[in-house]
């Protein structure tokens, strides 16, 4: 399953909850306010880096650009809407709202 997150771990527990449930190796996509989880130097960078050890992590470029996010945590793969569609075609989706 593709797990999707649309809010920031500083104000929501979605990411904490997600990592408890998502099996190792399942891809995770940050979109909408979820892209705030990608900021390098943020309080939760270590938490996100730990997630990266167990999961491929993606972030949607349109949402990064909208929010002016430039310095992202190494290892996170930036994708466009086309990449999003490919991920959704490859597997079912678990939106972790």
């Amino acid at each position: 399953m593709l797990y999707t997150v649309n809010d920031s771990s500083i104000t929501s527990n979605s990411l904490d909850s997600l990592v408890r449930f998502a099996p190792k190796g399942s891809p995770i996509l940050f979109y909408e306010d979820g892209v705030y989880n990608t900021i390098a130097g943020s309080r939760d960078e270590k938490k996100v880096a730990a997630v990266l050890e167990d999961h491929p992590v993606f972030a949607l470029d349109a949402d990064l650009e909208a929010r002016g996010i430039k310095k992202i945590i190494p290892g996170i793969q930036v994708i466009g809407y086309d990449g999003f569609v490919e991920l959704v075609e490859e597997q079912d989706v678990a939106p972790w709202l």
């Binding site: 649309n6 809010d7 920031s8 500083i10 104000t11 909408e32 306010d33 705030y36 900021i39 390098a40 130097g41 943020s42 309080r43 960078e45 470029d61 349109a62 949402d63 650009e65 909208a66 929010r67 002016g68 996010i69 430039k70 310095k71």
Partner: protein, 118 residues
Amino acid sequence: MEKVMVLLRKAPYGSVYSAEAFRTIMGIAVFEMDICVGFADDGVYTIVKDQNPEKLDMKPLGDGFPMLADFGVSRFIVHKESLSERGLSTKDLVLEVETADSEQFSEIIEEYGRLLPF
């Protein structure tokens, strides 16, 4: 002069709160009030530089804030810890701001007395 503080605590684009806060500030600025704009929690993301929401078919929100000075709104306070825990500094922001720790921030809230929360 009447005093009011507008407090932004939500991230832009994910909800309408930040855009509505901006509209409210514009709206009340014409009444020549002493307006202070505060940014805390995810609200600090509202004034991050280089926002480009073109692909979301939305207008950039941060760019409007520096122009508020033309309407007599010139006091902007940012909660220091909210900024630093998000990996940001005042250099990442679209305008010159005062920074305040939690205690100073709450003193400013008390000083203004009226709080419009977004």
